[in-house]
Amino acid sequence: MTTPLVLGVLAGAVLSGTSLLYATLGETIVERSGIVNLGLEGLLLIGASVGFSVTAATGNAWLGLAAAALAGGLANALFGWLVVTRMANQLASGLAMMFFGFGVSALVGAPYIGSVIVGLPKWRPAWLASLPWVESTTLFNYDLLTWVAIPAATFVWWALFRTRWGLGVRAVGESPAAAFAAGRNPAALQYQALCSGGVLAGVAGAHLSLSLTLTWAEYMTAGRGFIAIALVIFSKWHPLRAIVGALLFGGTEALQLQLQARGSEISPFLLEMAPYLLTLVVLLAWGGSRRLAAPASLGRTFYGSD
């Protein structure tokens, strides 16, 4: 039985969009505090590798997930030490962190390549399974991370825009000097943003290895970290718009695979480029917009306010 195209695309969009969403949320928090982390790709790899390794070693995917979250948080804390405490250049440090992530993930994952794991458990409520078409697809057959993805985005929105902590983070991202003058501690807030963002990036990586692929292979993220950085711009640094962005990009990827599976007449090479073409289009369309809404001090190092 063939599934209608739109359902197939939707199913695929949710599966590959989940990790994109967590990664985008993580980077959004970090960038809201005024820090660009180009090392997101490396963070995803660390999450995927640590999550898989710990799961393979202990047989418990939840432990793997927790370890991946912790590793992501720690890696970003290290990045924070570089760019906040040592005031190193953010772009260069971010790229260095990316290559650091390549190396660390390869090292951690190497002994566990080829291990067979039981991934995160999936549930599909019976009343959803009885809907037409759903039975034969992956729709609504999700692990916990996918089920709570939208609530997680809402939570990040609430934390950033409805709490005193979020106000502080955003203030630091706009003007660390002003936040400092108002009695907030920019460095502490940036560390907090980095650690929570790192945790989310670790979770994003773990979703790839513990739910979607059930394997670990070097560089298996294949550029998804960079797509997530573009998604932050696409969503204009807003956690709720990130949901749309992640679904759209996941959907583009799913669409090209579904089109191939339906025997489309479009060249597979052209179809493969679709997600990256969309990235370019978004950056083009958003570029130069005055209402870009980027945090005013994004990428700038705060040297203190003497």
């Binding site: 197939g8 695929g12 394997t215 695979l257 599976a261 025997g263 489309s264 597979p268 493969e272």
Partner: protein, 358 residues
């Protein structure tokens, strides 16, 4: 201070040299170096070499194997091979296609070291080439898949549409069609040999479109086989026959490389000082083997696949004209045929395959 440091380093080097000396005295008769582009335990291509060399080391006394994993297809591989030669390697297996030019350079510098390159190209006195010809063997996989499918739609996940891979797909479809006139093979290209998330997406897309058997040609079949297994469909494995462990329910069968007999011969000839570089291509029964069948495969289908395999071992090939491509053109005129050595030039899908090459 500097002098003192130099002295310490010199002393350590000396001590190390002394410690290593006796090891050399009773060193094995042959040290084999193997270079892999991926990880040796990937349930796929690289593991097939690792397993074969482990068997050689077990069965041939005096053989020691040194392996280097995850070596990129760049000048790095030259340094890795030079290092192996310094460690005493007299036989080297550069196992990835992209190592070709680098391996040749190193072979020119070390005429006393034998090289066996997994790929194609010219041979030299100390440089042999070899590969397993999988294309015709996929015909037998097609027979199994064509018999097992209920929907009549087979899926195939392809890393990149290179000639050898297209040959696998074409033989798969022709084999399936020989037992099931209505069968179709749907191809999804991921664009890389190891993009795991996309492989999962590709397998899901094929299953969404009603395919119930999925084959693949990617580096490691692990993600695809597990994705297919989780959705209750069937799979045909490739690269390493050990991949069956990943699909206790849906495994039909698969093709794997069995290099050990050939490696054993090469190792023996190097030890005897009689190595000569040759081009060795073997199909089913030589470097390619059929994996054990899954529990879901009834005995009569197993028998049919085995009979097909026997036929192939005796020289049968489906690559004989007339063959139409999937756009309705005559791809291979009557009487013409494609040999194993010409598969790399294939650039069309046979009739019945749903997909585009470019």
């Amino acid at each position: 201070m500097k002098k003192k440091l130099g002295f310490i380093i010199g002393f350590c080097a000396l001590a190390l040299g002394l410690a290593v000396q006796p090891a050399f005295a009773q060193s094995p008769h042959l040290t084999i170096g193997a270079v892999y582009v991926g990880s040796a335990n990937d349930y796929g291509y690289n593991r097939s070499f690792h397993d074969a060399l482990a068997q050689v080391a077990r069965d041939l006394p005096g053989v020691k194997v040194i392996e280097a994993e995850n070596v990129p297809e760049s000048a790095d591989v030259e340094r890795v091979m030079e290092g192996m030669i310094q460690q005493g390697a007299k036989l080297i297996f550069p196992t990835s296609f992209g190592y070709k030019d680098f391996a040749r350079k190193v072979a020119k510098r070390h005429r006393d070291v034998a090289f066996e390159f997994a790929g194609d190209g010219d041979t030299e006195k100390n440089f042999g080439v070899f590969f397993g010809s999988t294309q015709v063997a996929w015909y037998a996989m097609g027979v199994g898949a064509g018999k097992m499918t209920k929907s009549g739609k087979l899926g195939f996940v392809l890393g990149m549409p290179i000639g050898y891979a297209l040959g696998n797909v074409n033989a798969f479809q022709m084999g399936a069609k020989s037992v099931n006139a209505k069968v179709r093979t749907v191809v999804v290209v991921t664009g890389g040999w190891s993009d795991k998330a996309r492989e999962a997406g590709a397998a899901n897309a094929l299953l969404d479109q009603g395919c119930d058997v999925v084959g693949m040609h990617v580096d490691s079949p692990a993600t695809i086989i597990q994705t297919v297994e989780a959705r209750g469909a069937m799979s045909i494995g490739f690269q390493s026959i050990e991949a069956r462990a990943l699909a206790p329910k849906g495994w039909i069968t698969g093709l794997g490389f069995t290099w050990a007999p050939f490696f054993m011969d090469v190792a023996k000839s190097v030890m005897a000082g009689k190595f000569r570089g040759e081009a060795v291509y073997q199909g089913l029964g030589g470097m390619v083997a059929i994996a054990p069948f899954g529990s879901a495969v009834p005995p009569d289908i197993q028998k049919l696949v085995n009979e097909t395999a026997t036929k192939i071992k005796k020289g049968f090939t489906p690559f004989i004209g007339p063959l139409m491509d999937n756009a309705g053109n005559m791809a291979l005129p009557p009487g013409a045929s494609i040999g194993n050595d010409q598969m790399g030039n294939l650039n069309w899908y046979v009739e019945g395959v749903i997909g585009k090459v470019r």
